[in-house]
Every structure is written in structure tokens, then in C-alpha cells.
Amino acid sequence: MPFFMLIFRNLLRQRIRTLLTALGISLGITTVVALGVVTHSLKATAEDILHAGGADFAIGQSGSADLSFSTLTEEQLEDVAAYPEVDHAIGVLMAFSRAGSNPYFVQLGIEPADLEHFDVPLLEGRYLALGASNEILLGQEGASQLGKELGDTVELKDRTFTVVGIYRTGNVWEDGGAMLPLATVQEYERKDGLFTLIYVKARPGTDLDELTARIEEAHPELATLRTISDYGDVDQGIEIMDAANLAISFLAVFIGGIGVMNTMVMAVMERTREFGILRAVGWRQRRVLQMVLGESILLCLIGAVVGSILAVIFTRAILIFPVVRSFLDPEYTPEVFIRGLVVGVAVALLGALYPAIRAVRLSPIQAIRYE
């Protein structure tokens, strides 16, 4: 029998205990992997926000606790637009309000004239008309959630808007929401002359590092946002989620480790005489160690695989909520599953350490006499 099979057979001795322990581990791994998927996907969404409309970078208010709190002025927009390397600077105002069953329906206020410079591929209809105040462009997912088609009307903030176009950018955040005339959004948000973000398209050949550095130097109150690492300058949400993810991973390792230790200690205690026999027939301490650690690692790997499958099921299941679909398009990258695996192995090693040492230190003769 291969050594691996011997380890596997040992786990099958107490099937219920093995099953319950693996299940306990898998729940921890589910949390770690699911949170990893959600965090990664939200980062991807956040990165998409920074490059909405095909912008090279976005500009927000430095130090904002949340992106939606970012407040920029027309003067700042004009200053940015005045840089010779800037081809277009487009100010947008973000708003959130209930629409249908989605309590956080994203509304992007944008000058209709700017839409020709803001890459918004229309699936049907047309862009917002210049001067129109009651027209709306719906993202494909937003239209689907609201059950609206071209020519229908949408109620937002006690106003009625006519759907004049439906677009699809591939950005889950944009596609789940709508675009409206900037002046209308500024009016119902009572933010006249204010923006949330400025999207910048630079002229071809521009050194973006140099340009963003100059903008930030001249305007310390502005944060230029090109990558997800810049995102923390205007929104601590992602950083908080990263920290929570790390904390939960440690917690999963600790709690899982206690569970595995309990199982492995019981397994070693029950098999004390057997370990004595193995030592008596010449098994080295290292092989006993390999067997105990092997059992623990195999147990945790089973938990990691089951946990990862549950995490995929869970992250697909939460998409039934429209609000989640507006912000989240789950991305299953190898990193999140590797993290689950690493947590599983860490749990296995932590949990097996004490029982393995105990098994290795058994005196063969005392173990054989053990009843």
C-alpha cells in the first residue's frame, strides 16, 4: 500500500469525525475565499471606475473617506483642462438613490456635450440631447433590473426621465446604473457647480506620471487616480476590506487550527499503542511525523477544496441581489484560491504541531503498554 494510501485510510477510521472536521475547516476557507473573491472583484470595479469612459486617469478630492464624498469645483475642472497635455477633462457627479428593488442605483451626471468624448457604446437609441433635462441613458444591466426599454420612463428622485439610449461599457458599475444630464443631477443633489470626479484624457504621447505629479504638486487638494493603489487616496473602503480579509484569514487559521488540533490529538491518543508498534517495527520519528502531518494536511486540503467550491457557489448566489450585481462581477483569480489553500495548509500545520510532537516523543515500550 502506498504511504499516501496509509494516511488516507487512517482518516477513514473515524469517518464522521473526519467529515465534521473537514466541514468546519471548509467553512473557514469558504469565508476566506469568498471574501477574497469579493475584495478582488470590488478592486476590479474600482479600477474600472478610475478609467470610466476610456479616461487615462481620474481626479478626486484628496483625503476623502469615501469616493462619493469627493467634491470638486468648476474652477478645479477648468485648471485641469488648462494643462496643455490634457485633451479632455470631463467632470461627473455621482449620485445614488433607490430605483426599483436596487437601493443604490448609480447615477452619473455628465454634460451631454461631453458624451462624445466619453466612450459610452450605445446598444440602441441615442445620447442625451443638449439642453435636455429629463432624458436618461440606462446601462444594459440597469435597464434589465428595472425592466425598462427604449422610450420607457424611469422615476428617480420624484422626477420622470425618458430612456433615450441603452449602453454597455463592460464596466459593471456603469452598466448597472444610468447617465443623466449633469445639471439635473447637480440640481436634485443640491450640488450646483460641483463634481465628484474629473476624468482626464491626455493627448497622445503624454508622460502620465509627469502630468499627474505636476497636477498634484500644483493642487495638493486633488488626488490623481490611475491605479487601484491610488484609490485609497479618495476611498478607504477597499483598504478596510483588505484589512478585514487579512483579519478573517488569521481568525480562520486560528479557529480551524483549534478544531484540527482537537481532532488530531484525539486521533493520536486513540492510536498511542499503534504508534508504539510502528516505532517498535523500526519506523523513524520522521516517518511518524510525516504520517500525522500528512493526515492533518490531507484533512485540511479536503476542507480547502470543499470550502473553495462553497465560496464559488456563495459568490454566485449573492448575485441574485440587484444591488450586488450593480457593483460586483465576481472574478475567480488563482490568487484567491491559492490563499484558501495556504490558509488550509497553515491550519493543518498549526493543528497538527502538538499532536505530531506528542506522537513522535512516545516511548515505544510505553506506547505498546498503553491501554
Binding site: 500500500m1 504511504f3 496509509l6 477510521r13 517498535a280 523500526g282 519506523w283 516517518r287 505498546i368
Partner: protein, 233 residues
Amino acid sequence: MNRNRIVIDIQDVVKTYEEGRIHALNGATLQIREGEFVAITGPSGCGKSTLIHLIAALDRPDSGRIAVNGVDLARMGDLSRYRAREVGLVFQLHNLLPTLSAAANVQVPMYEAELSFWDRRAKAQRLLEAVGLGDRASTPPTKLSGGERQRVAIALALANDPPLLLADEPTGNLDSKAGEMVLDLLRSIQRERGVTLVLVTHDLRIAGSAERIVRMLDGRVVDAGVTSTEAGP
């Protein structure tokens, strides 16, 4: 095989338990030659099992010296290797793993012998056939009779072809017929393989089948006996 060569040399061995309150061995001295079949007898508590455990390096003496093939066990770095390669052990209560088949049990010591999976399997089958259990290879110990279990234990003890076979009351838990069968098997293995067989028993009838009978009392060897060759015609 040199039947005059001393393979086990036990000199003045002392072993106590419970912080010196129980004296299991109290200056035991004994020599055993290569290929000999020695029976160690004595009343319960005389130290015969302790002596065999010390020879098997399952435990260490408090004082005195045990040398196997001229090497002091106390100076031996890797006792696991010694137990795996030099010694085969058969206990009164068979030491088989209940969840494994007979063949898988016989393979257990072979994991340390760096044999391939196929070699381990073939050798285990050969050993089981040698003890008359070739057709019970896939049967777990729980479904074997006491005598069959002890024969599997003997096959397990021979897994790594040890030159030294130590049996501690191997028939103690068997009826007389099964006990006789196990004893015959041990005797034939000793003769055919030329292994040195040290058998601990309190049963003088079983001891009588050995080439030499060693008598112990109160932790000492009181009569080292003589082998048939030493006794002369």
C-alpha cells in the same frame, strides 16, 4: 553462519521502573550465539520480557551493557534503523493494525526499507505464503483467528529479513493446537533462515523445544543453560 560467534552480549544489566522502586532487571548477564534458539523462562515478574525489550532497543537499561554483533546499543545513534533492520519482534498480543489487511500489516516495517510499492506487495505475499496464509492476504486481523493473527505477526517480524527474531510469549494467548503451530513455524524459520531466535515463555513445555533454556529469577539469569553442541554427545 558461525554458531560460535556471540551476537547478543548482555553484561550486568539493571533496569528499574517507577523511580527505582521496581527492579525489573538486577544485574542480568547472558550471551547468545548466532543462529541459536534460546528460550528464556522464569516466573512472572522475573524480568524476562524486560530483557527482550531491551535487546529490541524498545527501552534503555539504567546500567550495564547490551551489545548486538559487537555494537553497544547505548552507543548506537539510530535505534530505529536497528529495530527495522536487525530485529523482528513477535509479542504475546499480536501487534497488528486492525484497519489494515494482513498483507498491508506485513508491509508496515518495509516502509523504512526503501522498497518500491510493487516489491513491498510481492514480498508481503511471499511472507504470508511462508506462514501459510497466502490466501488470507486481503483479510483484516479482526477476521482472523488468534493463531492466524500470530502467524501474520511472525510474517510482519520477518518483513525486513532481520537476523534476530525476538518472541515474547508468542503462544501465551493461543490454545494448545494453535500454539504448537506457531511454535513449529518459529522453529522452522530459525532452521531454514538461520536466524537467532530468542523466545520468552513461562511454559516449560514450549521452552523444551529450544536448543538452550535460560532461567531467570528476580531480575537475574540464574541458569544460562547449555546448548546441545556445548553439552556434547
